[in-house]
Symmetry: C2
Subunit: 246 residues, 2 copies
DNA sequence: GGTCTAGAAATGGTACTACCAATTCTCATC
DNA sequence: GATGAGAATTGGTAGTACCATTTCTAGACC
C-alpha cells in the first residue's frame, strides 16, 4: 500500500508541495497563504512540521511572515541564494580571491553584452552612479556600495537574470567581507576605471567594455586581496549568546 | 534591558549561531552534532525551534540527519544552492532559454581557462566522457548525463569553485527540465562538437576552446529551446497528495 | 455621520510533552 | 569469539498550551 511513500521526510514532501502550488499558479507572488493552523489541517500535517518548511521559505526570502498578520508569498527575491551562499563560503572555505576571480570570469562578458544593449535610461543610471561615487568621498563606506551598484546596473543591462542574481549574491558576500577596507581604494583611481567602462558601454563597443571591465577587476583584486584574505573566516556569523553546544 | 534583542526570530539567531560555530571551527565537516534534545537544552531553545534550523540545514545539504543515529555536518555540498535555485526559477519565471543563455555567457570563458590549465589527468577524464557518450547510444537518457559531466569536468579544470558550483546548479535545473527531450539531439552531432572542444583544450588553445564552446552551446540552445520552452512550469515539483490548501 | 478607542479575534513565535520508527549499543548466551 | 535479543538513543511527527503582535470589530464619543 505505501506504494509511493518515498523515503523523503515530511519536510521535503511539503517543500515539493509548495513548489507544485507555485508552479501551477495556485500560489502567486503577493498572495496571502492560509493561516498555519488551517494549512496544517488541510495538508494533514502537524503545525510544527509545516512551520519547518515555512521557516525555511522565510529565510530564503520566498515568503514573509508577520505575527498577527499572516504569511505572504514574495515575488522575485534576489536574497534567496544569500543564506545558502554563506554556508557555501564557510564550508568550502571559499576565499575572497576566489570570489573576485569569479567576477573576473563573468563580468567582462556581461559588460560586453551591456555595451550591445545600452539604452539612454541605463546609461543615465550609470552616469548617476559615477556622480554618486565622487560625492561619497574617499574612504567612505558608501563608495563600495556605489561601486557595486554600478556593476549591478551593468548586470541588468546584460539582460540575463540568472547571472544577474548569482553575481549579485557574489557581490553581497564580497561586501560582507570587505567593509572597513574600503578606505584602501583610492577614490580617483576607482572612478577613473569605472568611467572607462562607462565610456566603452556608451560607445556600444563590446570588446572595449570587456577589456575595461577585465582591467578594472584585475586591478581591484590585486588591491584588495592582501588586506582581506586573512580575515574571512573570522567575520562570518553574528555572535549569539553562549555558543557552547554542551 | 532587552538591549540586544533584535527583531530577528529565534530561527535566524540559531542560524547565525551555527555559522559562528562553523567559522570558529567548533564544528568541522564530518563532526557529529549533539543530539537534538541535548542541543536544545544547551542553547536554551525548544527542540521544535532547533529542528526548524536543522531541517533547513539538512535540505540545503549542510548537515545529514539519520534517525537512530544522529546529525552530521557535511563538507563541501554543491547541492546547497539547489533548492533555492528551484524556487528562484519558479518565482522569477526563469525560462529554459535564459538558463542556456547564462551558460553561453560563462562556459566559453571557463573552457578557455580549462585550456590554459589542462593536465593529463583531466584530459583523460574528458576523453573517457567522449567514449561514454558514444556507448550510451542515441536518445538514451545517459547521453545528457554524460554531456553535463563533460562540461562539469571543464568547470573543475577552470579551477574556480564559485562558478563551478553555481553552474552545476544551472545544469541541474536544466537537466530537470529536459529529460525526455534528449532523443532530439543527434548523437553524432553532439559528439562531434564536444570533440572539437576537447581538441582545443588539449592543444592548450584558450581562444579556440572559447569559440568551440560558444558554438556548441549556441547550437544546443537552438536545438533544445523550441521543444522545452513550453513545458517548464508544468514539470517543477513532485506531486504530493492533495494540493488544495483549503 | 464620522472618528476614536478599547476589547475581541486571529496569527505567527515558542515551549513542552508524548509517542513512533529506525539505529545503535549492551550484554547474556551459545 | 560470534550471535542475537532487548534496552537505550536518536531523529520524525503530532498535539497542546500560551505569549506577543497585529488586525478586526463594535461601541462610545464628538
Amino acid at each position: 500500500m505505501p506504494y509511493r511513500t518515498r523515503k523523503k521526510d515530511l519536510t521535503a514532501k511539503l517543500l515539493a508541495t509548495f513548489k507544485q502550488l507555485i508552479s501551477e499558479g495556485t500560489l502567486v507572488p503577493g498572495a496571502r497563504l492560509p493561516a498555519e493552523r488551517e494549512m496544517a489541517s488541510s495538508l494533514k500535517v502537524s503545525r510544527g512540521s509545516l512551520r519547518q518548511v515555512l521557516k525555511m521559505l522565510e529565510i530564503m526570502g520566498v515568503v514573509s511572515q508577520r505575527v498577527g498578520d499572516g504569511t505572504y508569498l514574495n515575488g522575485a527575491a534576489p536574497s534567496i541564494l544569500a543564506e545558502p551562499m554563506e554556508f557555501l563560503i564557510l564550508l568550502d572555505g571559499i576565499s575572497f580571491g576566489e570570489l573576485m576571480e569569479a567576477r573576473l570570469i563573468v563580468e567582462p562578458e556581461l559588460a560586453a553584452r551591456a555595451a550591445s544593449r545600452a539604452t539612454p535610461e541605463y546609461l543615465a543610471i550609470l552616469r548617476q552612479s559615477l556622480v554618486s561615487m565622487k560625492e561619497s568621498g574617499a574612504g567612505h563606506a558608501g563608495l563600495i556600495e556605489e561601486d557595486l551598484r554600478f556593476h549591478r546596473t551593468i548586470f541588468q543591462m546584460a539582460d540575463n537574470r540568472v547571472c544577474s542574481i548569482m553575481f549579485s549574491i557574489v557581490h553581497q558576500s564580497l561586501h560582507n567581507l570587505m567593509e572597513i577596507t574600503s578606505r584602501m581604494v583610492g577614490l580617483d583611481h576607482t572612478i577613473k576605471l569605472h568611467t572607462r567602462i562607462y565610456t566603452a558601454i556608451r560607445k556600444g563597443d563590446p570588446e572595449e567594455a570587456r577589456a575595461r571591465m577585465f582591467a578594472h577587476l584585475t586591478d581591484a583584486k590585486g588591491l584588495l586581496t592582501r588586506s582581506n584574505e586573512a580575515r574571512i573566516q573570522a567575520r562570518m556569523g553574528d555572535r549569539f549568546g553562549t555558543l557552547s553546544l554542551r
